[in-house]
C-alpha cells in the first residue's frame, strides 16, 4: 500500500515537471515562429520597395532625396539580424515609406495610375501584416518572459534551456521629437 502511494506521488510530480517543461518549450517555439513571421513580412515589404520607388519616379523625378532615404532604409533593413537592429531598421523603413507616400500625394496622375493603386493596397496590407506580426511576437514574448520569471515555471527554465526573450520595439521618431517648425 505504502509503495503504491509513494509511486503515485512520484508519478504526479513527474507529470507536473513534464507539463512545466513542455509549456516553456512550447512558448519558446511560438516566439520563434512569431519571429519568423516578422521576417517573412519584412522581406515582403523589402521586395515591394524597388517597384514602388520606380513607379513613383516615373511621375515625380525631382524627389531624389526621398528615394534615397527609402533605398538607404531598405538596405539597412535587409542587412539587420538581431532583434534590436531589425526593429530599428523597420522603424526607419516605415518612416521613409510614409515620406514617399506623402510625396505621391502631390502628383494626381501618379495617384490615379492603376499600378500605383495596386501597389498602395499591397503596401498598406504589408504594413498591417508587419504591425500585426510585431504585436503577435511581443504578446508571445510577454507570455514567455512571465513564465520564465514566475514560480513554478521559472524553476524549470534552466532545465528547458529557455531564457527571457527580447521585445521587438520600434522607435517611432514622431513619438519623441518635438515637431520641427520651419518659418
Amino acid at each position: 500500500m505504502k509503495t503504491i502511494i509513494v509511486l503515485g506521488v512520484i508519478a504526479l510530480i513527474a507529470v507536473f515537471i513534464i507539463a512545466q517543461y513542455n509549456r516553456l518549450v512550447r512558448l519558446n517555439i511560438t516566439v520563434d515562429e512569431a519571429w519568423a513571421q516578422i521576417e517573412v513580412q519584412l522581406k515582403r515589404r523589402a521586395d515591394l520597395i524597388p517597384n514602388l520607388v520606380e513607379t513613383v519616379k516615373g511621375y515625380a523625378k525631382h524627389e531624389q532625396s526621398t528615394f534615397d532615404a527609402v533605398v538607404a532604409a531598405r538596405a539597412k533593413a535587409t542587412s539587420a539580424s538581431s532583434v534590436a537592429d531589425t526593429a530599428a531598421a523597420d522603424g526607419m523603413v516605415t518612416q521613409a515609406l510614409r515620406g514617399l507616400l506623402a510625396v505621391a500625394e502631390a502628383y494626381p496622375d501618379l495617384k490615379a495610375s492603376a499600378n500605383f493603386m495596386s501597389l498602395q493596397e499591397e503596401l498598406s496590407t504589408t504594413e498591417n501584416k508587419v504591425a500585426f506580426s510585431r504585436q503577435f511576437y511581443n504578446d508571445n514574448v510577454r507570455s514567455l518572459n512571465t513564465a520564465v520569471k514566475t514560480i513554478p515555471s521559472s524553476l524549470f527554465a534552466g532545465l528547458a534551456k529557455v531564457t527571457e526573450r527580447e521585445f521587438y520595439e520600434v522607435e517611432n521618431p514622431e513619438d519623441r521629437n518635438v515637431p520641427n517648425v520651419k518659418f
Partner: protein, 299 residues
C-alpha cells in the same frame, strides 16, 4: 474596461450560464421523476440522445451545412485579393490558420463564421458588406468573425443547443405522457406530496422556455466576447465600432433561408424589435458600440 478584463468577464459569464443549463437539466429530470415516478428514468437518455445526434451532426459538418443553409459560395484568393489580404492580416494578428472564405450574394451587409475548430473554420461575407465598408471597418468585422473561431463559439453554441434541445424534447415527451394516459400511477406510494407535484409540473412546463432564454443569453455573451477578442487582435476598437455603426444604420436584412442559423451572423437578421431582449441572440447593437467606444477612450 480594457479588452482583457472584458474577455475574462464574458468567459466567466458563459461558464456560469452553462452551469445554469446543467442545473436546469438536473431540475427537469428531478421533476420528471417526482411527478411520474422512477419508471420514467429511461426517457432521459433517449431525450439526450436525440438532442446529441441532431446537434452534433450539424456541429461536425457545420462548415458545409451552413454553406447550403445560407447559400454562401466558397471563393479563392484570386476572386478577391483585397479581402484575402485583410483576412491574412487578421490571421497574423491572431495566430490562427487561414479560414475558408465564402460570399453570400445579398445586398444587406452582414457576415458570419462557423466550423468545428480553427482548422475547419469558414468565414462568409455578403456582397453588401464588401461594398459598403472601408478597409478598417472590414478588418474589424473579420477580426470579430475570427474571434468566434478563436473562442470556439460553434462548439459553445452546440453545447448550449444540445442541452436546450434535450430539455425541450424531455418536456415535450412528459407533457404528452401527462395528456395521453401514460401518466403517473396515482395509487403508488412515495410521491404523494402535492406541493412537490405542483412544483414539478411547473418546472416541466417552464423549463423549455428557461432553456431558450439561457441559450440566447449564452449567445449574447459570446457576441460581446467576440467583440472584445476582435479588439485584442487588431488593437483598433474604432474599426469594429464604425463597422457596427454602418450595420446599425442599415435597415436591410439578409434574406435568410432558415432562422436556424440566425445566431451566427455579426448582426442578427431577425427583426430585433419583434423579439424580446431575453430571447435575442445578439446584444443590442447600440450597447456593443458603446462598449467599443469606452475601449477607444482607453487607447
Amino acid at each position: 474596461m480594457n479588452f482583457r478584463t472584458m474577455q475574462a468577464a464574458n468567459r466567466r459569464k458563459t461558464i456560469g450560464l452553462l452551469v445554469g443549463m446543467g442545473v436546469l437539466v438536473w431540475l427537469v429530470v428531478y421533476a420528471a421523476l417526482t411527478y411520474f415516478g422512477q419508471g420514467t428514468a429511461g426517457i432521459v437518455p433517449i431525450a439526450v440522445g436525440i438532442a446529441l445526434i441532431s446537434v452534433w451532426g450539424s456541429y461536425y459538418g457545420s462548415d458545409k451545412l451552413v454553406l447550403t443553409m445560407t447559400g454562401a459560395k466558397l471563393i479563392q484568393e484570386s476572386d478577391n485579393p483585397k479581402l484575402f489580404n485583410l483576412i491574412h492580416e487578421v490571421t497574423i494578428a491572431s495566430g490562427l490558420p487561414m479560414p475558408k472564405v465564402a460570399i453570400v450574394v445579398d445586398s444587406a451587409p452582414n457576415a458570419f463564421a462557423t466550423g468545428r475548430n480553427p482548422e475547419h473554420a469558414l468565414i462568409a461575407f455578403t456582397t453588401g458588406i464588401l461594398d459598403v465598408m472601408d478597409r478598417d471597418q472590414l478588418q474589424g468585422v473579420i477580426a470579430h468573425e475570427m474571434a468566434h473561431v478563436a473562442n470556439r463559439d460553434t462548439l459553445v453554441s452546440a453545447v448550449a443547443a444540445t442541452t436546450a434541445g434535450a430539455i425541450a424534447i424531455l418536456s415535450d415527451m412528459l407533457t404528452r405522457m401527462m395528456w395521453f394516459g401514460g401518466g403517473r400511477d396515482r395509487n403508488r406510494e412515495g410521491n404523494g406530496n402535492p406541493v412537490a407535484l405542483i412544483i414539478s409540473l411547473v418546472i416541466l412546463i417552464l423549463a423549455p422556455l428557461a432553456a431558450m432564454m439561457l441559450k440566447s443569453a449564452i449567445s449574447r455573451k459570446r457576441e460581446s466576447l467576440a467583440d472584445a477578442t476582435a479588439v485584442s487582435f487588431t488593437r483598433n476598437p474604432a474599426g469594429l465600432r464604425s463597422a457596427l455603426e454602418v450595420l446599425a444604420s442599415d435597415s436591410t436584412v439578409v434574406h435568410q433561408r432558415s432562422t436556424a442559423v440566425a445566431h451566427i451572423w455579426i448582426e442578427s437578421p431577425l427583426d430585433a424589435k419583434s423579439v424580446s431582449k431575453l430571447f435575442s441572440t445578439h446584444p443590442p447593437i447600440e450597447e456593443r458600440i458603446a462598449v467599443l467606444k469606452s475601449m477607444e477612450s482607453l487607447a
